[in-house]
């Protein structure tokens, strides 16, 4: 069993739950949050706009009381609204700097609603988490409106908020008014500081968190706060077993990597630290030998893979999309951050920042004239007259992030040695991705379907682990693999990333999209999927891993090549190939990478 946090789709524990139960739990979370907002910090609400979300929020608002201010972070504005900033209109009118407080200050002791929390920029997450550290932190309600399972609230933010509630699948009938009232909450608040925590309750919560594989110290701390709030709600002067049970269900369970007891032997504390290999044991029975073999294969691959494959791949991408040539990573004109890239006339505000010197120099020549024409101007008033037309804003460029998706054929037809070589090739390219600070994703297909082994990440150590644990054998459902890749590519495009796709396969599909065997339909499906992938505009590379490719190089079987054509991809036969073809491919790619460098 793999880390459920990487889960794709989202972890759902067992049978579908009763809607009313889900709602009751969400309602209880709202009540506890209202009782102890400081200890519980907030909630992540995985729900798209709708009745359930509105009802929950309305319930919380009623319970928090009128005194608590409510604010909403305007989406898409970056961190600017959170932090104190210059009120430009007032500043110009008054002729002195006037600062407007940020939302983090204004929402102190209140609630800050953050919509679209799964798409927040890093800067915003940073500002929020920093705001949550302070003693006067607002209660943060983050709406996670992700459509795809891998669109999630940043872990750094999620870790700091006690509750994670999913309200998406609720039937309309399940939503009912919350049972507790403001008076209940007030009574509980008054009691809160008198609730004692017996040592065994604390120990139980901590042990529970450890048993679920939760490493962070925040969840058990917040679970303790939840237990205390629950006890206060029921008028108990000490945390009872029931309170601890509810708290661990509400705070700990949604974060569980595994369930306590179920996978006892996997708990990290039972493992010596150096033994961090994944547990999918089946692929590595004679361990030492297999590793030695892998090492040798890796060496062989290293010798024959052209350098800077990825750089060349993505350089090709830019050429195709007509983008400007630049150094690694296509440049994206982001308005808020990055390296300065010129100044133009325009109104600051939102994410456009004022270029002061340019503004002042634009205004300077007009000063005498404006002073004369200004009504009621006292002589000797040296105040600058700055008008709307003078305002200049600064533009920035930030390097666009790049996602490289590796689609690895782990089927039986990619004979086991070739699989090891393919792994070697991916590893080499991972190294390159690391140097370029790209993120990578790993898709493998075998038997009846495809699996996302690793959602997009920059943690390459994890990519390597996932790769090492990849078993081989079974049919060749190429179409399924390419479909997963396409979904990833489309998501990444929406996030504004450049995408590169590397397919390692022999190109001989024998499982169709619907999971049925048969070479004909499977091949047709694969080519259709390949064309679909080409339509995303992602740069792609097909590395032919067929045994034939190893022997004859460029004169390999046609399947992988025609797949490459359908994908509009570059084609490359993996090792063993004649020196001539590799040199040719390397030459082709390095021409591309020269273009990328200058």
């Amino acid at each position: 069993m793999r880390d459920l946090n990487d889960g794709y789709p989202a972890p759902s524990s067992g049978a579908p739950e009763d809607g009313e139960e889900v709602w009751a739990r969400a309602g209880l979370a709202a009540v506890l949050l209202a009782i102890d907002p400081r200890g519980l910090r907030g909630a992540v609400l995985r729900a798209r706009p709708g009745h359930a979300r509105d009802a929950w929020l309305e319930g919380l608002r009623a319970l928090m009381g009128d005194a608590a201010p409510w604010h909403r972070l305007p989406p898409g504005c970056g961190a600017a609204p959170l932090l104190p900033r210059l009120d430009l209109a007032a500043t110009l009118a008054e002729g002195r700097a006037i600062e407007a407080p940020g939302l983090l200050t204004r929402a102190t002791a209140g609630v800050l609603v953050v919509p679209g929390a799964e798409r927040l920029e890093r800067g915003v997450v940073g500002a929020l988490t920093q705001g949550l550290e302070g003693a006067a932190a607002p209660t943060v309600i983050a709406f996670d409106e992700g459509a795809e399972a891998e669109e999630r609230v940043a872990p750094a933010l999620g870790d700091r908020l006690a509750f994670a509630l999913g309200l998406d699948a609720l039937p309309l009938g399940a939503v009912s008014p919350l049972v507790a009232t403001l008076d209940d909450v007030r009574a509980a608040r008054a009691m809160l500081s008198y609730v004692a925590v017996p040592d065994d309750a604390l120990a139980a919560l901590v042990a529970m968190a450890a048993g679920m594989g939760i490493g962070s110290a925040r969840p058990p701390t917040m679970a303790l706060a939840a237990a205390r709030a629950h006890a206060a709600l029921h008028g108990r002067s000490a945390v009872a077993e029931e309170d601890a049970a509810i708290a661990s269900e509400l705070v700990l369970l949604p974060r569980a990597l595994w369930l306590p007891g179920a996978e006892e032997e996997q708990a990290p504390e039972e493992q010596p630290p150096q033994d961090s290999e994944p547990e999918d044991g089946e692929a590595q029975a004679p361990e030492g030998e297999a590793e030695a073999l892998e090492d040798r294969l890796l060496e062989a691959v290293r010798a024959s893979l052209p350098p800077e494959v990825l750089a060349a791949l993505l350089a090709g991408n830019r050429q195709r999309s007509g983008g400007a040539a630049g150094s690694a990573g296509a440049q994206m004109a982001t308005p808020r951050r990055g390296r300065p890239a010129g100044v133009r006339q325009g109104l600051p505000g939102g994410h456009r920042r004022l270029a002061l010197v340019e503004t002042l120099s634009a205004a300077a020549p007009w000063q005498p004239l404006r002073r004369r024409t200004r009504a009621g101007s006292a002589p000797g008033n040296r105040r600058l007259e700055i008008r709307r037309d003078d305002l200049r804003i600064r533009r920035f460029k930030a390097p666009r992030e790049t996602l490289t998706i590796f689609v690895v054929d782990a089927s039986g037809s990619a004979a086991i040695a070739r699989l090891a070589e393919a792994k070697g090739a991916v590893e080499l390219m991972l190294g390159e991705a690391y140097r370029r600070r790209d993120s990578v994703a790993l898709v493998a297909f075998r038997k009846e379907g495809a699996e996302l082994l690793l959602p997009p990440t920059r943690a390459l150590a994890r990519a390597r682990k996932a790769l090492a644990a990849l078993p081989g054998g079974g049919g060749t459902p190429i179409a399924a693999g390419l479909d997963v890749a396409r979904r990833l590519a489309e998501d990444a495009r929406r996030r504004g990333q450049s995408v590169g796709i590397v397919l390692l396969s022999d190109g001989r599909a024998n499982i169709a999209r619907d999971g049925t065997p048969g070479r004909g339909p499977a091949q047709a499906d694969a080519e259709a999927a390949a064309r679909g992938l080409a339509a995303t505009g992602a740069a792609s590379l097909v590395i032919d891993t067929s045994a034939r490719a190893a022997r004859t190089g460029a004169r390999a079987r046609p399947e992988a090549r025609s797949l490459a054509d359908a994908m509009s991809a570059r084609y490359l036969a993996l090792p063993g190939a004649g020196a001539e073809s590799i040199a040719g491919a390397a030459g082709m790619l390095s021409r591309g990478s020269d273009g990328a460098r200058r």
């Binding site: 400081r38 500002a127 943690a459």
Partner: protein, 349 residues
């Protein structure tokens, strides 16, 4: 920025009450004793108390003389030429706490380096510099949470200033420089992305922070955290004497640092260790020796021993090894092996 001021005035979790995390605490104390060490990098899981521990450090350090209203952290006897407050003959000298400045992830270059003073520029058209976070961190600590996610050009800039001790501003028609000597402390979670290797070895010390593995310490972590959040004042009072003792120890170490003897054998052992590990350049060796000296000072000994060297070797060298980015063999293990091989049985002092 006012938010930050407010956050800092709020009570901080006491350093001595942090459960476990000995490596992190030790590396921070070394940096406090010997600021020339070149910064600390703390990498590890979420929620392991990295930020808490780093922010707590400020509480251990004694206030130092400064000038009221000075934005550059000048010492009264040697103010920065750009600082107008300090050049005023009627200035008031005060004791100021050691600054621990947070650098938020979304910070712009303007805020870090400093920028044209908008107020003056708009009101009078006068060109004046408004100092940024670098100036505020002078003589203190600059803390970057999630340093691995910070934009590269900002990291380059920070490391450059940290190494040179001076912030040189050439922008927006401004041309000036002011001292900015601070200890750079970075933390991050490697799961979310690694730091570029060429930046790694610019940090003096690097430690891995892990979740305590035994349930008893975990319980203690939650217990103390909870107690602190319920009643900060009471918690601080409970820990006041421990905190004071540690502060005193640290202060002694700072005073005694220059008197710690370094034997030639120690320098030689450091050199051999670095050669055995194949670390590039002399920075590693220098850091190793400085860290060993700081540890000796912390323990109140007159000379640094081979044990001191062995104790700091993992944090001083672990991140300087040439490594395959995909190789997961813990670098600390490699250092430990080299320490055992090169230094052999710990020599007596």
């Amino acid at each position: 920025m006012r938010d930050q001021e407010a956050a800092r005035r709020a009570p901080q979790f006491p350093f001595s009450a942090v459960v476990g995390q000995d490596d992190l605490k030790r590396s921070l104390m070394i940096a406090a004793i010997e600021p020339a060490i070149g910064g600390v990098l703390a990498f590890g899981d979420r929620g392991t108390g990295k930020s808490t521990t780093i922010r707590a450090l400020a509480g251990l350090l004694p206030p130092s003389p400064g000038v009221e209203g000075c934005a550059y952290g000048c010492t009264p006897e040697n103010p920065a030429p750009v600082c107008e407050v300090c050049r005023d003959p009627n200035r008031r000298e005060v004791m100021r706490p050691v600054p621990v400045v947070d650098l938020p992830l979304g910070a712009t270059e303007d805020r870090v380096v400093g920028a044209l003073d908008l107020e003056r520029a708009l009101a009078t058209g006068e060109k004046r510099f408004e100092p940024g976070l670098l100036a505020r961190a002078h003589r203190g600590f600059l803390y970057i949470d999630e340093v691995n996610l910070l934009e590269d050009h900002l990291i380059d800039l920070l490391l450059d200033v940290a190494a040179s001790g001076e912030n040189v501003v050439e922008r927006e028609g401004l041309s000036l420089r002011h001292p900015a000597r601070f200890v750079l402390v970075g933390s991050g979670n490697p799961e979310e992305g690694e730091l570029r290797p060429q930046l790694l070895d610019r940090f003096g010390l690097s430690v891995e922070v892990r979740t305590p593995q035994d349930v008893a310490s975990r319980i203690e972590v939650v217990k103390r955290r909870d107690a602190f959040e319920r009643d900060p004042a009471g918690f601080l009072a409970d820990w006041a004497s421990e905190e004071e003792a540690l502060a005193e120890k640290l202060q002694h170490a700072r005073m005694g640092l220059d008197d710690v003897l370094l034997h030639d054998e120690l320098r030689e052992a450091a050199a051999r260790l670095c050669i055995a590990l194949g670390t590039d350049g002399l920075r590693g060796e220098l850091t190793l020796i400085r860290a060993a000296r700081a540890v000796a000072a912390l323990e109140g000994r007159g000379s640094a021993s081979i044990e001191d060297l062995a104790a700091v070797a993992p944090m001083a060298l672990g991140h300087r090894l040439r490594r395959d980015p995909l190789d997961e063999t813990a670098s600390t293990a490699r250092v430990a092996r080299a320490v055992a091989e090169v230094l052999g049985a710990p020599a007596e002092v």
